[in-house]
């Protein structure tokens, strides 16, 4: 575990204890399911930390990948829920109900492979990553970046939403794919199934955190940060900047897709309202509130903002947009590094003082390879 220093291990342990022990013990199944839903946005935020915080590529299209991952999973679940026996009242049994309502008489070709669970599990990350690869190749190879990239990804999100809503017969339209029942014969609707799914989700998130931290602490992670701060200098040093950008964009897409699939499983439906521009920007906001340069900050950010949203919309729905809007402005103008920035400024020095000093067992030559400070301080 050379890519983790003591503080990382502590932070991961705290996160794991919180997610896998404290929250399940304190919350009833309904609330726990809600937390599980928020955590699926944690995956997206994690990807955004790598893509936006580290590499400086702001993608306003994470909803695309979240949605595609979710839709892949939903298609599998929907096919399982619409077996010929379950749908025999339809005019064409064996196809999803919304297709029947839209006078489609046979299963469209792109739905067919989703009969297989193995294919679905592969497709969940692969389809979004392929799309990200295409977008990334087209954009980064031509040195399009910054605001242009943000706007194009946003346009792609808009296109996908309009397409899903417009092609009702193939996608379920604005209602999305609903009434999902079983995963390979296992009912996902009762409370105990939701709890199991919550733990799978939490475990996956921890694995993804480890993966993200591994990428950030590797040489690649440092090149990403260098690229953000002085792109030309990295290019002149002989690195192919575009490939690094494509890689990190695809990685972020894959992470978002896993989140989307877990979202479908836990919430029990998928609809275009999680794909478009508004959810995509909200995902960026979760990441910004938590701290765009901190993995843990981003996850806590996703949890906090979503929790606040649920609380507000239960109590004072008309105040929610005011609160959310002011929060964005406040975070951007006053705390550009979000919660993590506040932590770093005020709490981190205290933690440093409390920890016993590190004994250097590392030979001098290797010191350069192990950054003691996270690369994000390099501003």
């Amino acid at each position: 575990m050379t890519f983790l220093n003591r503080k990382d291990i502590a932070a991961i342990a705290i996160l794991a204890v919180l997610l896998l022990a404290v929250l399940p013990l304190c919350l009833d199944p309904f609330r726990l399911n809600l937390v599980g839903k928020y955590l699926t946005y944690g995956f997206v935020a994690l990807g955004l930390v790598l893509c936006w915080g580290d590499a400086g590529i702001l993608s306003l299209g994470q909803g695309i990948f979240f949605g595609l991952g979710g839709y892949c999973m939903a298609m599998y679940l929907k096919l399982e829920a619409s077996s010929p026996e379950a749908t025999k009242i339809q005019s064409t049994p064996g196809i999803p109900d919304f297709m029947d309502w839209n006078q489609i008489t046979s299963l469209p070709l792109f739905w067919r492979p989703f009969h297989s669970l193995a294919f679905t599990i592969v497709a969940v990350p692969l389809v979004p990553v392929l799309l990200a690869l295409i977008i990334g190749l087209a954009m980064f190879k031509r040195r399009v970046g910054g605001t242009y990239f943000a706007i194009i990804t946003q346009a792609v999100a808009a296109i996908l939403t309009i397409l899903i809503i417009g092609q009702q017969g193939y996608t379920g339209g604005v209602n999305g794919i609903t009434d999902l029942r079983t995963l390979n014969g296992w009912d996902i609707r009762p409370d105990h199934a939701k709890i199991v799914l919550y733990f799978i989700n939490g475990g996956l998130l921890i694995v993804c955190v480890l993966l993200a931290q591994f990428v950030r602490r590797s040489k690649l992670g440092r090149i990403l940060v260098a690229m953000r701060d002085k792109e030309d200098r990295v290019r002149f040093s002989g690195y192919d900047v575009a490939n690094f950008k494509i890689f990190v964009f695809c990685l972020a897409a894959g992470l978002a897709a896993i989140g989307g699939a877990m979202f479908t499983l836990q919430v029990g439906f998928m609809s275009p309202s999680f794909v478009g521009i508004v959810p995509s920007i909200e995902m960026v906001i979760f990441c910004a509130v938590g701290g765009r340069t901190s993995i843990f900050g981003a996850i806590y950010g996703a949890l906090t903002v979503n929790w606040a949203r649920t609380t507000f919309s239960e109590g004072l729905p008309q105040l929610w947009l005011f609160a959310m809007g002011s929060l964005f402005i406040l975070v951007v103008v006053v705390f550009p590094d979000g919660l993590a920035g506040i932590y770093r400024r005020y709490l981190d020095p205290l933690v440093d003082r409390m920890l016993p000093p590190v004994r250097r067992r590392i030979p001098v030559a290797a010191v350069a390879e192990t950054p003691q400070v996270s690369p994000t301080f390099a501003e």
Binding site: I162, L163, F328
Partner: protein, 308 residues
Amino acid sequence: MLMGYSLGDIGSIMAMQGFAGLSLFSVFLLMALGLAIIFGQMGVINMAHGEFMILGAYVTYMTSQVFTTYLPSLFAIYFFVAVVLAFCVAGALGMLVEWALIRHLYRRPLDTLLATWGLSLILQQVYRSVFGAREVGVDQPEWMMGAASMTDTIQIPINGLIVMALTAVISVFVFLLIYWMGWGKRVRAVMSNRAMAGAVGIDTEFVDRVTFGIGCGIAGVAGSAFTMIGSTSPTAGQLYIVDTFLVVVFGGAQSLLGTIASAFTISQARSTMEFFLSGSMAQVIVLLTVVGILMLRPQGLFVLKVRR
């Protein structure tokens, strides 16, 4: 594709859809001109631009209400008063926003996107609290409701003509502002090197504030025009913001001529195809084409040689 229409019918359909497209074009262009100033010249990503447009639409709505109640005799000309008011109100709000928010963020263009998105949420909620969540439409004076018959089969609505004329006036105004008067030069100087522009005697803060205000004011005028083709609701602005950004980027962000050309292409393509396909598919095809072209030609249709 002919679907049983005769060739003459197709001609008339094309002309009328084309003209319907021109109304859409006017709104797009007015939105895009404001954004071309704010985004193309100043580099600020204003996600609240749609909400400034809706502000203009609500101002128009209120003006029409006031005229109906207090000045029914002058109702025929309320639209022109509303346009001026919309420009002033949206412009004033724009200047306020620039002072309170944007000026802290000129060094971080991507962050303006997030901050203005927050602003757009707040504005939407304000509209919802003040005007209600339901759509409102304005009453148009009788002389604007009619249609001019060009031939037996082609009819052109008069309010469309007025909106077109308005758009033309604003476009000329923006052109003069950016290319003929010193103003555009000053804006570009401030954007390319703030400290140096200040050193040669340009009041950079004033330039920023007024430019942002003008951009938002034009969005307000777009709102006035918008009331002629659609009904106003608190979230209507959000539907247009992505299209508008695409129009600006597609045309080449620094080029006003490109903005006009791309607004024309996009709105015409959409309007013409909407007749034959469903509205959503027309939109998808147009957006996909634009994104595809932008991937092949990221700098947009028209390129100005500008120092970055």
